[in-house]
Each structure stands twice: as structure tokens, then as C-alpha cells.
Symmetry: C2
Subunit: 213 residues, 2 copies
DNA sequence: GAAATCTAGCTAACGCTGTTAAAGTTACAA
DNA sequence: TTGTAACTTTAACAGCGTTAGCTAGATTTC
């Protein structure tokens, strides 16, 4: 029992150190932004030295990935709460808008999660979960014959691209006065253009076929 | 006469040096990509030393801006050739698609022109010309009452965001297998969702009100 | 209990980056 | 000839991500 508890205590200490480093990472990130973040600044803040950080996280990317995995988990939970299991279009609309809002409110996290530093460096695997989730909704619409043109991949990538463009535009061009409705307007418009209303295909029109899509 | 010609010769020498540095910049950029570009690599290639580059271009951003101003001028000329003065929607469609195609074919130039390195660093002023040109088309549609919702700013920023998202997605995620039709599909869909067909507004319904937009 | 092993953290350094101060060189003007 | 201005260089600064090599301490093994 003692041996086991010793191991546990050591593991606990390890996670405590990781916790402290991650918290300082978040601090530095928050008050300097992504561009200003550096290992030097981090170790000045958290008291440890650079090699300790490397010992625990491998390299800078590993450190940021670890931080982002936590943040993404939180975000994924809020996205799960938005599900409209009965209406694929409303599901896509809600997730897309929430996603854009998240990106604009947390530009540093967004950059780390979805804007790879180099073309070959893929973002953390956890960031693809959402895409898979959305792909399901698109397949559903495709099987229901409600995509006006193109396949479900094309539609999924369209919405994905629009969201990314909305976020990075508003992040990187604060000098532009962005329309307050651009996010809602563009997502609504794209869905309107991609998806045909339910009534067009199913002959039974028990429901009034929706004012929106 | 002699004095003047001397001055001219000096100016000519100056532009020659600038030309040589810019050409080497292009070379380094082409075979290493944007990430791998550095002043050191540049001066190794072009024979001059770093302070010479700084003397002529101010700093790294100035050097890249100078290169990009040239490249953008070429690009703007090809865009001008696409104008459909009689049909604002077709004009927007053609310019948007050409723009995305340009971005994907010249990722390094695109990054420099439209992806500022820091949130406060605005892209070169020359890059805004196109936006102004497109804004005119949107105002035209707005005045014709053909925007389904939102104002012309919102619509313009929607299309702009979509284009940017399409390009940066396909640049930075070569691991994803992008749909070959995603650019056309998404631009068509967004325009379809943003702009109502001409017949909807004018009471005379001589045309069947919906082939494309 | 003593020896071997493993872990965590440190100091100091490497090679790279953008940038610049200061000095030397060259060409033209007075 | 002397002065002035532009041009180019050498040498360096401050910062970056990263790592080799060492020490102190805890854990395991004999």
C-alpha cells in the first residue's frame, strides 16, 4: 500500500507542476497575446527554468497543445449542449454560430487550435472532433436529398471555411469596422444557399416547412 | 545637364540594387516558403549584407511589402479583366472565384498580402483596393433592393470572409482532401443566399425567377 | 542499511532570428 | 582640396527555441 501511495504522490506532484506551468502559460498568453508568448516570458512568470518546461512538455508546441486540449474540452462540452437532434440544419447553424463566437472571444486559443504555424504541422487531433460531429449532420442532409449541389464534403468544407474566415478576419483586422450581423447573416445565407427547404422533397407537409431554411 | 544625368544614374543604380534584392527575396520565398524566409538567407543569396537591405527597405515588413506591391499590381490587372459591368452578381462571383484561385496558387504571396503577422499590423494599403472595388458592386445590389437581409457591408464582409476561409483552409491543411468543387459550390451558395433574384423585386415576372441566383 | 537507478530541476550554452550603431568607402559638389 | 551625402560593411545586441551536462533527492534493489 505504501509503495503504491508513494507512486501516486509522485504522479500528483508531477501533475501539480504541470498545472502551475499551464496556468502561467495561460496568464502570459492572456496579457500578451499569442505573438508575445515565449518560453522565456513563461519561465520568468512561473519560477521554473526552461529545461523544466521542456522536461514536462517536450517542446513549445507540446506545451501549447496541452493547454489547448483542456480549453477545447471545455468548449466541446458547451457545443454538445447546442444539439438539435431533430433538425440537422438548426444544429449546423447553432454550432457554426457558437464556434465563431468562441473564436472571436478567445483569439489566442483559436489561433493555437485552428491556425497551424506551418503548413505541415497539423492542429491537435482533438480539434477535429467537431468536424466529425458536423460531418454527420451533413451526411444526414445529403441522404435526405436536401443539398442543392455538391456533396456533403463540399458543403461541410464550405461552412467550415466561412467560419474560419469570419473568425480570422475579425481577429486580425480590428481596424475594420465589422458589421455586427455579419456572422449571423453570412451563416444564414450560406445555409440558405446550400440546403433546400424540407418541403421541397418530402411530399407530406405536416409542418409549415420552416420560415428560415 | 551633367548634374541631372548623374542624379539619374544614381537613382537608377538605387533601383537596380532594390531590383536585385527583391528578386532574391522572391527566390528565397519560392523555394523555402514564407516560414523559412529570413534576412540571413536572403543576404546569403543576393550577396549584399543585412544593413544594406535595411537601408533600402527599412525593415523586413517593408521589404516584403515592396515585393508584394509589385505582385499585387499584376494580380489587380487580371482582376480588372473580369469585370461584368452589367451584372453585379456575376461580377462578384467572378472576382471571388479568381481571388480564391490566386490565393491557392500563390500561398506565400497571399499570406504576405492578406494575413498580417500581428493583429495591429495592417496589410499593405494596396491590398484594400479590391475590397473597395467589390463594395461598389454590393452597394449597387443594395440600392436595387436585392439583398435578402443585412446591409451591403455585411454582405461584402460575408463574401470576403468566405474567400479568406477557403484560401487559408486549403493552404494550411494540405492533409485534408478538399472537395474539388468547394470553392465554386460555396461561393455560388453564399451568393444565392445573400442576393435575391432580380425578378423578385420587379413586379414584372417575365423570367421564371430562379435559374441561378 | 548500502548501492544503484531514476526523476526533477538547474546552469550554461548553441544556433538561429530581426535589427542597429559605428566605421569605412565611394562619388559628387563647392 | 575639402566637405557632404549616399552606400556598404563589420561587429554586435537582445531575443528566440532548444539541449547537453550536471546536481540533489527520492525510489527501488540487493
Amino acid at each position: 500500500m505504501s509503495a503504491k501511495s508513494q507512486q501516486d504522490r509522485r504522479r500528483e506532484q508531477r501533475t501539480q507542476v504541470r498545472r502551475a506551468i499551464l496556468d502561467s502559460t495561460e496568464d502570459v498568453l492572456l496579457d500578451g497575446g499569442y505573438e508575445a508568448f515565449s518560453i522565456r516570458r513563461l519561465v520568468d512568470r512561473c519560477g521554473y527554468t526552461a529545461p523544466t518546461v521542456y522536461h514536462h512538455f517536450g517542446d513549445k508546441a507540446g506545451l501549447l497543445d496541452a493547454l489547448l486540449a483542456e480549453r477545447y474540452a471545455k468548449f466541446a462540452r458547451t457545443l454538445k449542449r447546442l444539439q438539435h437532434p431533430d433538425d440537422a440544419v438548426e444544429h449546423l447553424r447553432a454550432v457554426a454560430k457558437a464556434f465563431v463566437r468562441f473564436g472571436i472571444r478567445h483569439p489566442d486559443h483559436y489561433q493555437l487550435l485552428f491556425m497551424p504555424r506551418a503548413p505541415d504541422h497539423a492542429p491537435p487531433a482533438v480539434a477535429d472532433e467537431m468536424r466529425v460531429q458536423l460531418d454527420q449532420a451533413w451526411s444526414q442532409l445529403w441522404e435526405a436529398g436536401r443539398l442543392r449541389s455538391g456533396g456533403p464534403e463540399s458543403a461541410a468544407q464550405s461552412l467550415w471555411s466561412l467560419c474560419h474566415g469570419l473568425i480570422s478576419g475579425q481577429i486580425f483586422r480590428p481596424d475594420v469596422t465589422w458589421s455586427k450581423t455579419v456572422t449571423d447573416d453570412s451563416i444564414d445565407a450560406l445555409l440558405l444557399g446550400l440546403v433546400s427547404p424540407e418541403a421541397e422533397r418530402t411530399p407530406n407537409r405536416s409542418r409549415p416547412a420552416k420560415a428560415r431554411a
